[in-house]
């Protein structure tokens, strides 16, 4: 087992990783920018190393600085968290070349799944149902029009190097496709440095359902059920729940088994999430995330597992120690992502947290690095807390969530707590009757009231 793990991230996930390591008796090294010198995980970690100024490129994504910090602190392994370098195959490779263990999937799998065209092909080969679309990348407008004619409008143009909702254009007609194709190409080139595009059938009212898998280095793989992440605004998830209110046990078992078997055939290791758009009873694979996800706590709550702990364990070579039959799901969990933004205008609101009171009680979990007096820096992602509740039924969960949101105090900043409070009483959410467009419409309606 590792003696020391370097946490190559910040905020709530860095704290999360520190906690798992601390509970395993593993020493932690917190690397941080100057803006995060007073961060909670930096204070609690066994060691800390300042690696750069606030901008992420010069700190949290500064590969030489992180590797150097690992060398001078004698770390054994590096956990990349999510975002930043977690899905950077070069980073994963360099970590291993320098003699550290990368706590995550293999660089090869990160690379394959990082290219969305290659990912779809790998998924197809592994028996996963994929969205109808172009066979590989589409290099010309003419080809785009041909593909669209074959699969039928509406279509969506996507960047191979994109993902997570970025660089996408919907087209309802050949004219829109011509325009959208051009724009998507130049945007992709500008943002991702790679103008390669592909085309898919656009689904009008899907749910975003993703399956969590976990694999060790010995070929053992389990799926840990699904999460419904349909509540999104501008492709950013706001609320996630497990299990999905839209699936029955048979469907759940089917897609979980497909995902698991695919990962066995790929020889996958560590955690991963297969994302699907689910519409009219059909699953359509869109992409795979080769890292720990923000919303992993809802899976942890219904499975009774510590996913970060499992990541560390399997990376150190330990076998899973349990089979799929031993995985049981219990109750229901919901997570609300709370951001330092105005709940109606979504204008960012960094600043000092003057009063802080987190909710508590049975089935309430808060993953946050906030504390009274903490200054939320403006340089990074605006998510400041995750409120996760668990209940024995979805109804109990909703009641608990309502109660917990009412107790949560984050004074001194604008936060989206009020938005979550409104969501939690909306009939569509209460009934579990929403798709990936619902939240955007709800928010737009609210802002025009």
């Amino acid at each position: 087992m590792f003696e020391k793990v370097l946490i190559a991230n910040r905020g709530e996930i860095a704290l999360r990783i520190h906690r798992a390591c601390r509970e395993m008796g593993i020493g932690t090294v917190a690397v941080h920018s100057t803006a995060d010198a007073d961060a909670m995980h930096v204070r609690l970690a066994d060691e800390s190393v300042c690696i750069g100024p606030p901008p992420a490129q010069q700190s949290y994504m500064n590969i030489p600085a992180i590797l150097t910090a690992a060398a001078i602190s004698n770390a054994d392994a590096i956990h990349p968290g999510y975002g930043f370098l977690s899905e950077n195959a070069n980073f994963a490779t360099m970590v291993e070349e320098h003699g550290f263990t990368f706590i995550g999937p293999t660089p090869e799998h990160i690379r394959i799944m990082g290219n969305k065209v290659a990912a779809k092909k790998a998924a197809l080969d592994a028996g996963i149902p994929v969205v109808k679309g172009s066979d590989g990348s589409v290099d010309s407008e003419e080809l785009a029009l041909e593909v669209a004619k074959e699969i039928g409008y509406p279509v969506i143009v996507k960047a191979s190097a994109g993902g997570g909702g970025r660089g996408m254009k919907v087209a309802n007609s050949p004219e829109e496709l011509r325009k959208g194709f051009k724009t998507a190409k130049s945007e992709a080139l500008a943002v991702f440095g790679n103008g390669e595009l592909y085309i898919e059938r656009f689904l009008s009212h899907p749910r975003h359902i993703e399956v969590q898998i976990l694999a060790d280095l010995h070929g053992n793989v389990v799926h840990l059920g699904e999460r419904d992440c349909s509540l999104q605004r501008r492709h950013q998830k706001l609320v996630e729940e497990a299990p999905s209110p839209a699936l029955n046990d048979k469907e759940r078992d089917e897609i979980g088994t497909i995902a698991r078997n695919a990962m066995v055939s790929l020889g996958y290791r560590s955690v991963g999430t297969l994302e699907f758009l689910y519409q009219d009873g059909e699953f359509n694979f869109i992409e795979m995330n080769t890292r720990l996800q923000v919303e992993h706590p809802v899976t942890e709550m219904i499975c009774g597992m510590d996913l970060v702990r499992e990541m560390v364990r399997v990376s150190a070579g330990a076998p899973l120690g349990y089979s799929q039959d031993e995985i049981h799901f219990s109750g229901h969990a919901i997570e609300c992502r709370i951001t330092a933004e105005n709940p109606t205008t979504f204008l960012p609101s960094p600043g000092r947290v003057v009063d802080y009171h987190a909710p508590g009680g049975l089935g309430v979990r808060v993953d946050s690095a906030l504390y009274s007096g903490y200054v939320v820096p403006p340089h990074y992602d605006s998510m400041i807390a995750k409120l996760i509740v668990h209940g024995s039924t979805r109804n109990e969960c909703l009641m608990r969530l309502r109660r917990a949101l009412g107790e949560y105090v984050i004074g001194g900043l604008d936060t989206t707590i009020a938005l979550h409070q409104r969501l939690v009483t909306e009939p569509a959410f209460v009934n579990g009757d929403y798709d990936i467009h619902w939240l955007e419409r709800f928010v737009d309606e609210e802002s025009t009231d």
């Binding site: 007073d38 204070r43 060691e47 800390s48 690696i51 030489p64 590797l67 001078i72």
Partner: protein
Amino acid sequence: MVKSPRVSDVNEDLVRKLARLLEETGLSEIEYGKDGWHMRVAKALSAPVAPAVAPPPGNDGIQVEDDPEALAENADVITSPMVGVVYNTPEPGAPPFVKVGDKVTASQTLFLIEAMKVFNPVEAPRDGIVVRIMVSNGTPVEFDEPLLVIE
């Protein structure tokens, strides 16, 4: 700057002596200094962190303060531009780049910082005199860590 004190910066023997003196004499605070720095050892009620947090490990209720002597108006603190291991000589066994009291000129190499087997020079931003050096040879340094003071 790292908040938790690092062992390389702290004269352990001196701290132990002072702490023992505190216990034996029943005093609540002892200050001792020489050569432009001083150390204060006090029976603290709580470690100097935000109330919601446990004190950094290893403090045991004793505060050790390095008194930053007021810098002269024209003094510049040269900080590390990167994380790595600092060396004050061009190669092992050679004389140091600079010593306290030396005159330096702009762009003169003051240290080498090694990261991933690559050595990066830290250069003087202007002419001046070295009045203080805060790091010792072959020790790890963080980004922004004070290395040297020029007046």
